[in-house]
Amino acid sequence: MSNSIKLRGLLVLFCLVLSVLALGPTLMKDSLPNWWKNAFDPIHLGLDLQGGMHLVLGVEVDKAVESRLDSVVDQTESLLRDEDVIFKRIERKSDDRMVITVYDADAGAEVDALIQENFPNLEPMTLDASGGYIEKNYRFSDQEIANIKDYAVRQALETMRNRVDQFGLSEPVLQRQSDNRILIQLPGVKDPQRAIDLLGKTARLEFKMVDESADIQQALQGNLKPGTKVLYEHRVDPMTKKATENPLVVFEKTALTGDLLADAQVRIDTRFNEPYVAIEFNAVGAQRFDQITAANVGKRMAIVLDDTIYSAPNIRERISGGSAQISGSFTEQEATDLAIVLRAGSLPAPVKILEDRTVGPSLGHDSISKGVNSVVIGAVLVVLMMLLYYRGAGLVANVALALNLLFIMAMLTLFKATLTLPGLAGIVLTVGMAVDANVLIFERVREELRHGKSARVAIDAGFAKAFVTIVDANITTLIAALVLFQFGTGPVKGFAVTLSVGIIASMFTAIFVSRLIFDLVLEGRQVKKLSI
């Protein structure tokens, strides 16, 4: 055997062994030694094949800027009071401006100085307002706004990751996409609605005092004292399961927020066998909670999550030590989810679901079996056709086709690519086109034989002439596939991957492996007639 054949044979053998090694964990999950399973992952199935959720969430970053400004307004107000600056009004206007109205230029200068000292990233702007007042306007610099937005998305991503981690899924994907978008993929999630509820909660926990003196009927008609607002207490009757919304008037000023939590756990109240959430404040929170409860004994405090009151217990005594509980009419799962979002922290801004694709496991299973079936049926038909048409050479083409499929699957595992439904379709298409290169070669060989060339010469010439055509034809298809990969999303990308991999594999098998088989057959023999 010539050296060239030996070398080429070794290369093909190497690819073969590598492919079998790579595919082992996919085909036989359990019966393999550990080193094998550790070295190669099984083929990664897309969500459309294994079932799961694909979510794109948009973080409403403008809201983060607003709420940041709101807290600056709050802080400035108490600052102005502490420093005895006389001002008429302080408010947030048109989303991104803080406006402080003062009576004279002296007060204006004082305000400017204070802001300059405490909030250097605010840009001042002074206007003469009507009635002789002076309006001091401040806004965040563009740089600062960009920072706040960026931070909001990063914090949202972090919070989401914490929540998903506690959800107990095997391979979740969380990624920041362009600008304010977050991509979340949850393979194999059992209860999609629960996942969405859990992810979408802003989870801003606040403690607000209830205004007992307010007339609830008046308040519902919109006659509210300044600084108070109406929130609803959500109650589910444990017997009838009927939900009721009970309005309460609370003070807008937040006594304490959930940022100061250290932990949240589900406990069961043994008296009524009802779950509740036990929360634990950190040192700062515990101190504040202590002060608030001491100052408000006998009054009701509303526990508010995302503008819904969970419970509004009476403060019977001063609570030191920093633990409290949120009871409400929870099911155990609701209590668990509440504890999860409280532990994971709140979102800095609300999120919106921009895209939601969920495939149930049963459908994914159907898709795989149908997809694989059609690959097998298609491949069998092609194999039969090639055998019928080219006889012996058809057998060579079929070997190349089988290797082609093997290499495609192996490359998918080696590149850790994801196999999707359109990806399966890509493989089907490749099977159809894979024999094309061999057909081109065989047709050329037939032509040469018709011109009366000997078997060996005809093979040489056939391969040589077909080579250029094969390369040109495949590279153009490869260009299309690569563009798809670069600009495509989701299913398009999955298709592009298998198509590109398929083209590369089929060029290798058709040109290299087929040639090797012919050379092996012709080696040292005087072949008079080719079966082609």
């Binding site: 999609p192 049963s362 359109p422 379709a425 298409l429 086109m433 094309d436 670069q486 600009f487 398009v492």
Partner: protein, 303 residues
């Protein structure tokens, strides 16, 4: 075995004007259908909206599902049977607002009292916001455009510019015809269909390049015999390969179309049309363009 005799010589080039007329008529029918229907029938991916695939334990009808859904959940939902069995349906709605993030539980809450708890399986949900849909549409179009530019550049480099023009005209022809067929048959265009369109481009091109390659080779060989004759000879010489490869590809795509399952049905449909049209166009569109180009430039340079 041989399907095509080696000395075959069908006068493809002579029938090119007939083919041009046929192509133009088919494209016009497709465009007409697109205009009548007010543009392509975009699926959830591109138009935004919600699609839910539901399977029931017992057989039911679209009307019954609508009756259960419409007063409670969705006003303008369409319900359509999915696959061959009367227990699986697609529910489509225009809503995609995140206010509807409770949609799946709302639909379940509306259906379960009618069909019984635990008998309704939500197999697939796709919700795409309008903004995302618009972006995906733009990306899809850009992908097709960039692919065409890349191909144009490669063919110009490997062959000549006029070959590239022929190939691109054939591609546009194929995509237009497939688009027209989608509109005529009332099928939806979604993200995987863009992938199918690009596969069609790839396949059609594959076919075209192989004929071109032979034309290029033969132009050197039979220099004196004129472009139309050379083109015709080249098409005939590659005919058996064209038929065999298209045959095998059609076989597998047909297998995909018949056995691939409902989710991939439209995708397989696009490929099916694409393979047929792609084969036709490499013979009757891409190659004759070379002749037309030749005649045009010859006419110009003549005094």
């Amino acid at each position: 075995m041989q399907l095509i005799k080696p000395d075959i010589n069908v006068d493809f080039v002579g029938k090119r004007n007939m083919a041009f007329v046929l192509s133009i008529v088919l494209i016009l029918i497709g465009i007409g259908s697109l205009i009548v229907k007010g543009g392509p029938n975009y699926g959830v991916d591109f138009a935004g909206g919600t699609l839910v695939q539901v399977r029931f334990e017992q057989n039911t009808t679209a009307g019954e599902i609508k009756k259960a859904l419409i007063p409670n959940v969705l006003d303008n939902a369409t319900v359509q049977q999915f696959g061959d069995d009367a227990n699986e349906y697609l529910i489509r709605a225009q809503e995609s607002d995140s206010g509807l993030q409770g949609l799946r539980s709302q639909i379940l809450d509306a259906l379960e009292p009618v069909y019984g708890a635990g008998t309704v399986d939500m197999r697939r949900i796709e919700m795409v916001g309008p903004q995302v849909g618009q972006e995906l549409r733009k990306q899809g179009l850009m992908a097709i455009l960039y692919a065409m530019i890349g191909i144009l550049a490669y063919i110009t480099w490997r062959f000549e510019f006029r070959f590239a023009v022929g190939a691109i005209v054939a591609l546009v022809h194929d995509v237009l015809l497939t688009l027209g067929a989608f509109s005529l048959f009332g099928k939806e265009i979604d993200l995987p269909i863009i992938a199918a369109f690009l596969a069609i481009i790839g396949y059609s091109l594959n076919d075209t390049i192989i004929v071109y390659d032979r034309i290029r080779e033969n132009m050197g060989k039979y220099h004196g015999s004129g472009v139309p004759l050379t083109v015709n000879r080249s098409i005939n010489e590659t005919l058996s390969r064209t038929i065999l490869t298209s045959g095998t590809t059609l076989l597998v795509v047909l297998a995909l179309f018949l056995f691939g399952g409902g989710v991939i049905h439209n995708f397989a449909f696009a490929l099916l049309i694409g393979v047929l049209v792609g084969t036709y166009s490499s013979i009757f569109v891409a190659s004759p363009i070379l002749i037309a180009w030749q005649e045009k430039t010859a006419g110009k340079s003549a005094p």
